[in-house]
Amino acid sequence: MSSHLHDVVVIGGGMSGLMASVYLAGKGFKTALISRGDPVCCLSTGCIDVLSSTGSNPLDGFGGLPEGHPYHLVGKKGVEEAYKLFKEVMAEGSIPYVGTIRKNREILTPIGTFKTTCLVPATMAASLGCRDEYVHVISFKGIKDFYPSYITSKLKNTGFSLYDAGASSTLAIAARFEEKGFAEDFAVWLEGLELPPGKVALPAVLGLNNPVAVMEAISLRIGREVFEIPTLPPSIPGFRLFRSLKAALQHRGGDVFWGMPISSVERHGNIVEAVTLATSGRATRVQGRVFILATGSFVSGGLFATRDSVHETVFGIPVHIPGPRKDWFRNDFFNAGHPIEEAGIEVDASFRPIHGNSTNLFVCGSILAHSEIMKYHCGHGLALATGLKAAKMCERMLT
């Protein structure tokens, strides 16, 4: 068996796992990040929802959250620290994030509604305030998941133009934006439209690697602010977010083990010693002094539901289940806040599972019980905050 020794082993490469591992690797700990595949933040808008269900200041809403909500374990200060670190990390790469932790802001969605969020990538910064301005929507010939008339029929002051990018999927168009001269040609065409003063909005396709630079170059040429609209999956802003965080981890010397599920866990008493990856032929053993479980909810594969139960897929930690299957979902699809959202792992103030029996295992992210992410719209914010807090608990244990 091949063996790897680390200080910290983080299981789950999503927002909370990435945050925890970036922090710990940055502090000089030998950090391993194990992930069965890419995380679901690759499909998200790329924005950070802290607590969108409340009004203007997301932190004000903490008081209204039910007692068991994981935000209470982090506290407002914890959220602020996470936000600060996240912004710093993203600023290292090519996609800085904008926004302030104390103020929610809006972004325009593909159907002309507005979504409340808190931190947005710089490519969506100009979405703020577009309700009251002229917005010219650009779409691309053949694109299947973007229909500008939803937006132009909803906003007061809009226009629309279609560009032939020679490709019809968001990924292919984004690849074109990275080819020499393409962005330039596009900007020239835009300039030729002689748009009225206002903003230009387009689906999020301004390339994978340097979208801010592309956006600014276009913006400069046409003298108008440009912003991206997040699309249905495949979501480029979501993918960029993931790649930036992963790169930040790798820059800090973190090791990544990608693509294989965990086949077994080694324990010694109440200490987890190692996990084994189901690599072909010979398992790969990853040893650590502390372990962080950040495998996410059902959609991420951290929790799995059978016809009558729910279990946690790596360590088998007992899962809090909100009743029998017939009560998991209400009748109304749009009633976000289906009871099943409460399912997950319950942890104490040190982020160790209450019903577990390991002293060096910590849990963070959307696998935590009572997160109710769709109800409160707090997904990424909660992930970052609990990820950082759990990481700090590990740091304490390691030093």
């Binding site: 091949s2 069965r36 890419d38 499909l43 999927s169 090791d255 693509g259 072909s280």
Partner: protein, 409 residues
């Protein structure tokens, strides 16, 4: 039935290098789990578009649910190939081993001939792309020359076609490095691992190679040898396809006893740090992770070794496929895709202003070396340069290691 787990999240699509530059390829989700529901037993394949998949396996690595996307597509490719007449290039490249051996036998004349326009044009008419240069052939390949060296821990080195026929110098460096670390290295008689044949639809030929190698390797394993590979595509084939689709006898045992050379070096270093005296090396390198190394899931062991070299600034790049993908990029129909992907991957390297690029895979080295114009090295070459630092002469790393060898008891 892993396609049952697919929830259509499109994460595989986000990772597919071909999808973003080839409009004729419907993407891994469609080619894999979506189409699988329509591929019924006993019916002739009509999905000719599966040929655009370059089998980089990034889709499978990225899937959070364990859908074996690349494997599903591979099986569809094989079925289609078995039911239809394959193009000339498929036959040509399935026989890559024999072509390589031929080229080696007639080197250096073969090298000259390969660059003749008339030959290139004829090949182009037959479907071979003019763009990637054929690798140079070497007469003194690894089949010739010393087959046994060193004392100690028993290692059977599966060196693969590229190292044997094109870069035997790297092959010998690896052998010598292992020897210097207290290994008894044997270069067993071997044929191609079988991947070019498999990738070009000739399962029978691939199985033939696999069976032959399996017999040889198993006999070494039974005598207490560890098998070590350097080329990550050979490695993937040995670890996954031998026990899997190629059904090599003893395939499971082979996979259990086969190691990536850097993984092996790392474990030797973990046992005894003195074994690999890494000195200082002031270089700035871009380490391009081959897609197949990612697919192995063992992490990036060479990067762990690089971390221990003082003065070495190493950028680990694992986001892009180089685009050559074995024999894929040599085909005219894939020319544009291969070129575009090469551009994308090399742009990232160029932006870093490094003095060399490093990759475990010969195809990645050829492609990215060509696009970036930088020296393209195997990780072992960097390691040996770092070791050589501890000796007098820094410039010729080959000399360095020999010099060091003389010093050890």
């Amino acid at each position: 039935m892993s396609f049952e787990h697919c929830v259509r999240c499109t994460i595989c699509v986000e990772n597919c290098p071909v999808y973003k530059v080839e409009p004729r390829f419907p993407g891994p989700k469609q080619s894999g789990p979506d189409a699988q529901r329509f591929r019924l037993d006993g019916e002739k394949s009509v999905d000719q578009w599966v040929k655009y998949c370059c089998q980089c396996r990034r889709c499978q690595v990225a899937c959070p649910y364990g859908v074996e996307v690349a494997e599903i597509i591979l099986k569809a490719q094989l079925k289609y190939g078995a039911e239809h007449i394959s193009p000339f290039t498929a036959h040509l490249f399935a026989n890559a081993y024999h072509l390589n051996a031929l080229g080696s036998t007639f080197a250096p004349l073969a090298n000259k001939a390969a660059s003749w326009n008339v030959i290139k044009s004829v090949l182009n008419l037959l479907g071979v792309s003019k763009e990637p240069d054929l690798p140079e052939f070497r007469f003194i390949n690894l089949e010739r020359g010393r087959r046994r060296k060193g004392k100690g821990r028993k290692v059977a080195f599966f060196y693969g076609c590229h190292l044997s026929f094109n870069r035997p110098d790297i092959g010998r460096k690896i052998r010598d490095l292992l020897v210097s670390m207290g290994c008894r290295v044997v270069m067993p008689r071997q044929t191609c691992c079988g991947l070019p044949a498999l990738g070009n639809g000739d399962v029978d030929m691939a199985k033939k190679y696999a069976h032959k190698n399996a017999v040889t390797l198993t006999s070494y394993i039974n005598r207490g040898f560890d098998v070590v590979y350097a080329c990550t595509s050979c490695g993937l084939t040995l670890m996954q396809d031998y026990p899997g689709v190629l059904e090599a006898p003893g395939g499971k045992k082979i996979a259990e006893n086969t190691y990536n050379v850097n993984e092996y070096l790392l474990s030797l270093m973990q046992e005894d740090n003195e074994k690999v005296p890494l000195g200082r090396l002031e270089r700035k390198i871009a380490y391009h992770i081959p897609c197949h190394l990612r697919a192995l899931g063992i992490g990036y062991p060479a990067a762990k070794i690089f971390e221990q070299i003082d003065g070495l600034e190493c950028f680990v790049l694992d986001e892009n496929c180089c685009g050559l993908a074995g024999t894929y990029g040599f085909k005219k129909r894939n020319e544009t895709v291969s070129h575009k992907l090469g551009e994308i991957a090399s742009a990232q390297i160029r932006d870093l202003h490094v003095d060399a690029m490093v990759a475990d895979c010969g195809a990645c080295r050829m492609q990215l070396g060509h696009f970036t114009n930088l020296p393209a090295l195997d990780p072992v070459e960097i390691i040996m340069e770092a070791i050589a630092d501890k000796t007098v002469n820094k410039r010729k790393s080959g000399l360095g290691i020999k010099h060091w060898l003389r010093k050890t008891p």
